[in-house]
């Protein structure tokens, strides 16, 4: 590098620092009212469309991109696969440095956070029909009544159960409510001969995905639109229910590491656990096909009974090829393309119509997932959710280890969430 550049760089760095420290002119407190996206119109896509996608999706999405380019010969889709590990940091820095692609895949819990930066484009009104998607999944892309992401694939959580243990325990079919689930788990342990009747993640990162469904099943919620409701009676009861599995010795208080749950389920050491569709593949790879069944989550007062996750597609506001980008996104959401995608990487379609295809409808395990998706929801799409969730996970660990009462944990969650706020 030449000295000229380095001086310019030094100057720039100094200016950045000084400007940050001194001028700090205060943020523009924009309103949070709903925004209307610009239309994209019809016609073929053209030009270069740059896409970031994570992990396996990033590696394989070129399959769909090739089909898209056959339909739109003037368009060229350039995919950069991004490792999941570090993807969040990569997108954050790209926004700060204004080096974003046209389209990016986002984890559904990230949309709220990145939407609030102003870097994401509003989903065009003529692009897709919200009602075509699972309602819980569509909501993950909606911030302040404005859609910033279109759900691409979904996942939800069910109970995976060892069939042989269930048979020995005389447990036939999924329990309908909490009392039924508790009794079933007791039976799996005492009569089925499992060391642990169930494995519920004892706190730490991601445990909220197991426990918030209990809150929803009980008619509670995370946020009521005005304030957090983590210390409501419904939520507190749900936490007490969660803790009771540890207190009664039904679930291990030690966290299982990656790779352990599927082995322990198949060996019968753990009779059941809560997990998502990827566990079908993991169990089958260990020769577990036909050895396990899946149960929907128990019902209750609440409308929703499980958690919905997955990934969305978003377009950046300063995309060089906005129209092409949205056209590519809408292509991905066609029911037949969603089925192709399922066949390629086993990602469950976010578009309900795709589930009528024999590949999905003909598989009883998947059908259970499909039914659960109708009654699954996500946490509110607020930018601070990951931070609030981390606080929730900490309190859940205290519950699981028996060092906090449900009321204390609920109070602590509510207090932390309120202090962090919704980032608005």
């Amino acid at each position: 590098m030449t000295r000229g550049t380095s001086r310019r760089g030094a100057l720039l760095a100094a200016v950045t620092a000084v400007a940050l420290a001194a001028t700090a002119c205060g943020r523009d407190e924009g309103g949070n009212e709903a925004r209307e996206g610009d239309r994209v119109g019809s016609g073929r896509a053209s030009g270069e469309i740059t896409v970031w996608a994570m992990g396996t999706e990033g590696e394989k999405v070129s399959v769909l991109a090739d089909d898209f380019m056959r339909e739109n010969p003037d368009a060229k889709v350039i995919v950069t696969p991004v490792p999941w590990d570090g993807a969040h940091n990569k997108i954050s820095t790209a926004i700060a440095g204004r080096r974003t692609p046209d389209v990016t895949m986002l984890g559904t819990t990230w949309v709220g956070e990145f939407a609030r930066t102003g870097a994401l484009d509003v989903v065009p009104p003529d692009l897709v029909e919200p009602g075509d998607f699972f309602p819980g999944a569509w909501e993950t892309g909606v911030v302040d009544d404005t859609a910033y992401g279109v759900p691409w694939y979904v996942e939800t959580r069910l109970l995976f159960v060892n069939k042989a243990v269930a048979r020995r325990a005389g447990v036939t079919g999924a329990p309908a409510d909490w009392a039924g689930l508790k009794q079933a788990v007791r039976d799996l342990q005492s009569r089925g001969g499992a060391r642990w009747g169930v494995y519920l993640q004892p706190g730490q990162t991601g445990a909220w995905q197991t426990v918030m469904p209990f809150v929803w099943q009980n008619g509670g919620d995370i946020h009521d639109g005005e304030k957090f409701t983590l210390d409501s009676a419904e939520a507190t009861e749900a936490l007490a229910y969660y803790r009771s599995f540890y207190d009664e010795g039904l679930s291990s208080r030690d966290r299982l590491r990656e790779g352990e749950p599927e082995r322990k389920l198949l060996s019968g050491e753990v009779a059941a656990f809560v997990s998502g569709p990827w566990h079908i593949g993991l169990l089958d790879e260990l020769g577990g096909e036909g050895e396990y069944e899946v149960w929907p989550m128990p019902g209750g007062e609440g409308e929703f009974t499980s958690f919905v996750g997955g990934s969305s597609m978003s377009v950046f506001a300063d995309a060089a090829n906005r129209d092409g980008a949205w056209k590519f996104v809408s292509y991905l959401m066609r029911p037949e393309v969603q089925v192709t995608w399922y066949r390629t990487v086993s990602d469950l379609p976010a578009v309900q119509a795709a589930w009528e295809d024999e590949a999905l409808a003909g598989d009883p395990l998947l059908a259970t997932f499909g039914d659960q998706l109708d009654r699954a929801k996500a946490p509110p799409a607020i930018p601070t959710w990951e931070q609030i969730a981390a606080g929730v996970d900490t309190e859940l660990e205290k519950l699981a280890k028996g060092t906090a009462s449900p009321a204390d944990a609920a109070r602590a969650m509510q207090q932390q969430a309120t202090a962090i706020g919704t980032g608005g």
Partner: protein
């Protein structure tokens, strides 16, 4: 640590030319360093006194200065306090342990062994380069409460084992030992290089005087190794104050935050887009390292480096 070199030059012109020479030597480094290291550091320092969050990424200037409130808020955050205590224990126990082990190995390898020397050097360095994933699998196997090698060995001598990684009382000590094991090779390499800089004739003279091994170690090796020890002490302290990878792969900071480190906490805050607080935590770490380094400089300075 001022001029340890030649006596201050005589004439004015002489000292000017000395200054020019000095700056010529540091210029390439200084230019790159100021732009790519000092610049971003200053910018992050500025971030630590604003309320910048993830939502401000696109427009980092439109933030409000908040003075020291990010810093003051930290001390009201129970996670920060817990992480500080964990980090302090980690550093106080881990740094001396690592240095002592590394020095022992380096002295052993430097004591005139010719056979297998390269094998030993490579072997002791291997943990530094081994994939953290492989390390975590094998260490988890060692520490497993039911099937682990450690509890089995303890059982042989009649001692009860522990649920190492799931017990808040034992998880941090287990990670300290693992980290010392993993970083020993790094310090060993530097000690090995430092040992080569000690003039052989000092030892020869001492041998003629009939000095025993221990006396030679105490009166020649240790004093002559001081600049190296200072370097290893400071670098290891910096590394350990920022320890992150071991809890990240082994315990995710648990159980009950007993292995959460300040660097891990910073990493989380950064991930949450809480840039102001993350930077503030980073600079609290910075102050701690500076204070510890000053202590090391005091403790290990010698007549060369005063």
């Amino acid at each position: 640590m001022a001029a340890g070199a030649s006596s201050p030059g005589g004439s004015r012109a002489g000292s000017l030319s000395r200054a020019l020479t000095g700056w010529t030597f540091v210029l390439p480094f200084a230019a790159l360093f100021l732009v790519f290291t000092a610049g971003p550091v200053l910018a992050s320092l500025a971030m630590s006194v604003t309320d910048i969050r993830g939502a401000d990424l696109l427009d980092p200037f439109a933030v409000n200065p908040v003075g020291l409130s990010n810093y003051l808020d930290l001390f009201a955050d129970p996670k920060f306090v817990q992480a500080s205590v964990n980090t302090a224990i980690f550093v106080v126990a881990g740094v001396p342990l690592t240095m002592a082990l590394a020095l022992l190995v380096a002295l052993g390898l430097n004591s005139g062994l010719v056979r297998f020397r390269t094998l030993y050097r490579v072997g002791y360095y291997l943990p530094v380069v081994t994939s953290i994933v492989a390390i975590s699998v094998v260490w988890r196997f060692l520490l497993h409460p039911d099937t682990g090698l450690l509890n089995a060995s303890l059982g042989l001598v009649g001692a009860g084992g522990a649920n190492w990684l799931n017990d808040p009382a034992f998880a941090l000590p287990a990670l300290i030992v693992m980290t010392a094991w993993r970083n020993l090779g790094f310090a060993m390499v530097i000690f090995l290089a430092g040992l080569q800089a000690i003039p052989q004739d000092l030892y020869e003279a001492a041998e003629i005087d009939g000095a025993r091994r221990w006396a030679r170690l105490r009166h020649i090796t240790v004093p002559m190794l001081r600049p190296t020890m200072l370097f290893v002490a400071v670098i290891t302290t910096i590394g350990y104050v920022q320890y992150f990878e071991e809890p990240f792969v082994m315990t995710q900071g648990g159980p009950l935050d007993s292995t959460l480190s300040l660097a891990y906490h910073t990493y989380n805050q950064f991930g949450f887009g809480d840039y102001g607080a993350a930077s503030a935590t980073g600079y609290v770490l910075f102050v701690v390292v500076v204070l510890l380094s000053i202590a090391w400089f005091r403790l290990l300075r010698n007549n060369v480096d005063r």
